[in-house]
């Protein structure tokens, strides 16, 4: 006999990950670990110019080299593939179209020119060096100022200018608020270009079965089904002629979503050559030509009262979108603008957002596409504090939404509910002991040490439902699909349209199924990444995995449990399944307030359902197969507050992070071990990006950061341990109260670190308005400056 335990039994358990075993033993199976007999190797010839016409391509010498099977260029591949058109119905966004490989001109250094296929990778790379390309160099635009200048060279000659996208919005009367304000505070934020740098670069392998007319495409990708749709369409194949298989993936962070031109070329070549073709990009290609992210120039103007309250706020963003559109050009800036005001009460708000094409690698979403949001918002609050001589914490408290304010409709119409920004802020302020820090800071300054403390509150948009897509004009949806199958033995298999790149799905999603079905997590296997096995879902992006994917699996598990109990009731000669439940794969009955084991288990029901269907209740079909789709609310939000303490050395400009505390409220969690790992990883990525990482182009559009000695990523020596305060306010609209998380850490880290630097810089009368916060930049700010004795009134 067992007594009812309230609340979930499977989710929320800190189960170690089941995927670890293979990964720790060197038995993982990443793309390059898949042996494909007879596979040819592709390598790409890339442009050395930022912008140039392709005058001629002479592949004769390359094609005659031993082992070389084919050399193809843009015109060849255009015969086998269709173009990509990006033309969603979004006002102010110009439609763009690209061929699979460029035909007439290249648009950035590293752009594609030709593809060489040979019997091994060494020979393919030898031959690529022998492809002779004649270019006519064109003027290049290497930043948005140059791109938007009168008479600038056109990146895309089908467009009237390089202004790809322009939208504006206004709510309330911002101009009136400016006129009536105690002060108007202006601040600027320059976010530098970064790239995802997954530790496994991109790659793929295409196997064309000419007899069956079927393509099997192996690729590490976050969204297998949407990728298959794209791949089939652009090869003019049916979706039933393409199988996408994602093996273990060495990190994605948003880089592995789009169907890239290299991948489509490899698939087309496998079909044309009727031989398997595989491709692995090298690190330089990954850094220069895979996908970049983040670059934006941003300004705010805030009308404020004497106590620091914001009466009205204006935002301007100019995104540097690079040379090609793999996503709608307004998409990233729009999310920043939509959620900018986050945890603060700001009723009068206006934004103006632009995206410009430049002669640089195209950009896409990178873990927290809206990463700069919280830096811009809390950085604006810090600018207000500096200008008005107020304490930054006091300015936050004066503006912050309080528990009684929720649900709260933001000026943009977005609804915030079930979030706790004032609680996370106060928790982090208490944990880092803000008041005593201020005393220590004064004492340290007296000794010539410059400590800084930065705060940053985050409201993270996590799960986007189909209604969000519809409202944004973006084709696609935010729903997710799942199936659960109980096998004749009672073993449980399940699948969902997500694909993991390190998130521990095989463990945490099994917990969601187990919770819904009423079995131990160890009895559930989750299969992901094979489009012949998984249901058509939207994949892994944003922070949708737990809510959309976990939610769908949980609901599907519930559906399965209801069905199993209906059969069990019949087996137990009961009229109804109402007083029955499945727990640990046993059917239990509620008798006098206690759950009592019956003689029946899941395996007994399964045996009946498969092998003795005549014994099933009337109207119940044989087998135990379940599926469903789940469409989350238009948007779910998590929230957090970050506090970062640093020591800034004015002599060298070096920043040492002394302490990092975060309070995060991400609702119910599937697996706290996995969630903690995601929190640590997200903060680390934010700090690394704000401190070190920089995709650097010179004025001519040459990329100078093509190795990991130039594109610096934080090592264990630059990062601190993270102190995490956990909060779990459930979302009332989602299954189990899930909210999603894993991007907010990036948002908060970027802001908290920069705010800490500015706190340390305050006595010098300077502030940092750009990243990365590299030592030479900090030194440049401080040159000729001496510290003043007091920083705030």
């Amino acid at each position: 006999m067992s007594v009812s335990t309230e609340g979930p039994s499977q989710i929320g358990r800190p189960l170690p990950r089941r995927e670890d075993r293979r990964l720790l033993m060197g038995a993982g199976r990443f793309l390059d670990d898949i042996a494909i007999p007879g596979a040819l190797h592709a390598t790409f010839v890339r442009s050395p110019h930022a912008h140039a016409r392709i005058v001629s391509i002479d592949a004769a010498a390359a094609a005659s080299m031993p082992g070389v099977v084919a050399v193809v260029a843009g015109r060849d591949v255009a015969q086998w593939t269709t173009t990509q058109r990006m033309a969603p119905p979004i006002e102010g966004l110009l439609p763009t179209e690209m061929t699979t490989l460029p035909i007439d001109k290249v648009r950035f250094q590293g752009d594609l020119v030709a593809c060489v296929v040979a019997s091994d990778r060494y020979l393919a790379e030898d031959a690529a060096e022998r492809v002779e390309v004649e270019y006519e160099a064109l003027g290049a635009v290497a930043d948005t100022d140059a791109a938007l200048a009168e008479g600038a060279p056109l990146v895309d000659e089908s467009l009237p200018s390089n202004l790809l996208s322009h939208q504006s919005f206004s709510s309330g009367d911002v101009a009136a608020r400016m006129r009536g304000a105690h002060a108007v505070v202006e601040a600027s934020f320059s976010q530098h270009r970064q790239t995802h740098m997954p530790i496994e670069t991109r790659g793929c392998a295409a196997v064309w079965d000419d007899g069956r007319q079927h393509l099997t495409f192996y690729i590490g990708n976050q969204t297998p089904h949407p990728l298959r749709t794209q791949l089939a369409r652009r090869l003019s194949l049916s979706e039933s002629q393409v199988t996408v298989i994602c093996p273990d993936v060495g990190g994605g962070f948003g880089q592995k979503i789009a169907l890239y031109r290299e991948e489509l070329t490899v698939a087309a070549l496998a079909r044309q050559l009727k031989r398997p073709v595989r491709w692995r990009e090298d690190r330089m290609e990954n850094l220069q030509a895979a996908c970049h992210a983040r670059q934006a120039e941003c300004r705010t103007r805030a009308a404020v009262a004497a106590d620091g309250r914001i009466l009205g706020l204006e935002l301007q963003i100019v995104d540097d979108f690079g040379a090609y559109c793999f996503y709608p050009g307004n998409y990233i800036a729009r999310v920043v603008a939509l959620i900018l005001t986050g945890p603060y009460r700001i009723t009068d708000y206006a934004y103006d957002i632009k995206a410009a094409l430049t002669n640089k690698c195209g950009v896409g979403p990178m873990r927290a596409p809206m990463a700069m949001t919280s830096w811009v918002m809390d950085g604006t609050l810090d600018a207000i504090a500096r200008q008005l001589g107020l304490d930054p914490l006091a300015v936050r408290r004066a503006n912050m939404l309080q528990p009684a304010d929720f649900p709260y409709t933001m000026a943009t119409g977005e609804v915030l509910e079930d979030i706790t920004p004032s609680q996370t802020l106060e928790a982090v302020v208490a944990a880092i002991d803000y008041e005593s820090f201020r005393r220590r800071q004064v004492q340290a300054r007296a000794k010539g040490r410059h400590l800084g403390l930065g705060l940053c509150s985050v409201v993270e948009s996590t799960t986007y439902g189909s209604l969000f897509y519809k409202a944004a004009g973006i084709p696609g949806s935010g729903h997710e699909a799942a199936w659960v199958r109980i096998e004749p033995s009672g073993a449980v298999n399940a699948s969902v349209g997500l694909m993991g790149t390190g998130q521990g799905y095989e463990t945490s999603l099994a917990q969601a199924v187990a919770e819904g079905l009423g079995v131990e997590t160890s009895g559930v296997r989750v299969q992901l990444g094979n489009t012949d096995v998984a249901p058509y879902g939207m994949g892994s992006r944003g922070a949708r995995g737990a809510t959309a994917g976990g939610g769908a699996l949980y609901l599907c598990g519930r559906k399965a449990q209801d069905h199993v109990l209906r059969i069990a009731a019949h087996m137990l000669n009961l009229n109804s399944a109402e007083a029955l439940r499945l727990a640990d794969a046993r059917v239990q009955r509620l008798i006098a307030g206690a759950w009592v084991d019956t003689a029946i288990g899941l395996a007994d029901v399964a045996r009946l359902a498969y092998l003795d269907p005549q014994a099933l209740p009337d109207g119940v079909a044989p087998g135990l197969d379940f599926s469903l789709t789940y469409d989350p609310p238009p948007m779910t939000y998590s929230n957090s507050a970050h506090a970062c303490e640093i020591d800034l050395d004015p002599e060298t400009g070096r920043i040492a992070i002394l302490r990092y505390v975060v309070a995060e409220d991400c609702g119910a969690v599937l697996n706290p071990i996995v969630v903690r790992g995601q929190q640590q990883g997200a903060i680390a990525m934010g700090l690394s990006g704000a401190l070190l990482e920089h995709v650097f182009y010179d004025e001519a559009g040459q990329n100078l950061s093509g190795t990991l000695a130039d594109y610096l990523v934080a090592t264990a020596c630059e990062l601190p341990n993270f102190e995490i305060l956990r909060m779990h306010t459930p979302n009332k609209r989602t299954p189990l109260g899930l909210k999603g998380m894993a991007e907010g850490g990036v948002m908060g880290a970027i802001g908290a670190l920069t705010n800490a630097v500015n706190d340390a810089l305050a006595p010098f009368g300077v502030s940092a308005d750009r990243q990365p916060l590299a030592a030479p930049y900090i030194r440049g700010l401080l040159r000729g400056r001496i510290p003043m004795t007091r920083t705030t009134a």
Partner: protein
């Protein structure tokens, strides 16, 4: 450049006859000629550390080593760390402390510290971070890897005492 030379590669205690071109990387020979795909290649320029193996018990970048130079040397890869299917103390600690997410850098991290902990049974956190700085991890932020190395060191000290 592409002419092949037969050599003996001694890997995980087993001698393998392979025929390699002089420029063939050890990482490629291990993965593609011997099928030992646990060694991962992350950057091919010695920066990321994913390809770390032991050459005569010392950590080395297999992407910066030519296979043809390895005759007469003993190479150890991730496949030889577990014994009879059981985790080493470091692998066990990495599992318990959630020291890996995507797992691509993990073999390199493990090879680095299997060697390090043999010679340094009681490292400080600063020591561990210094050594770990030769291995890039994009997922974890390193905190749990550091915790795992500390735990493994304690287990190893216990087992030796």
């Amino acid at each position: 450049m592409n002419e092949r030379t037969p050599i003996i590669l001694s890997v995980n205690g087993v001698d393998h006859e392979v025929s390699v071109a002089p420029r063939r990387l050890l990482s490629d020979a291990l993965r593609d000629d011997l099928g030992l795909t646990g060694t991962h290649v992350g950057c091919e320029h010695g920066a990321c550390g994913a390809c770390t193996v032991l050459i005569d018990d010392r950590p080395a970048r297999s992407c910066l080593t030519f296979a043809i130079q390895m005759e007469g040397h003993e190479i150890t890869t991730i496949e030889a760390v577990a014994r009879d299917g059981a985790f080493s103390p470091l692998q066990q600690a990495m599992h318990e402390e959630h020291g890996l997410q995507c797992g691509f850098c993990t073999p390199g991290v493990i090879m680095t510290f299997e060697a390090y902990l043999r010679d340094n049974p009681d490292p400080s956190e600063e020591d561990i971070r210094e050594v770990l700085s030769g291995n890039l991890c994009r997922c974890t932020g390193y905190q749990n890897i550091v915790a795992a190395v500390k735990k493994a060191a304690a287990v190893l000290r216990e087992s030796r005492s």
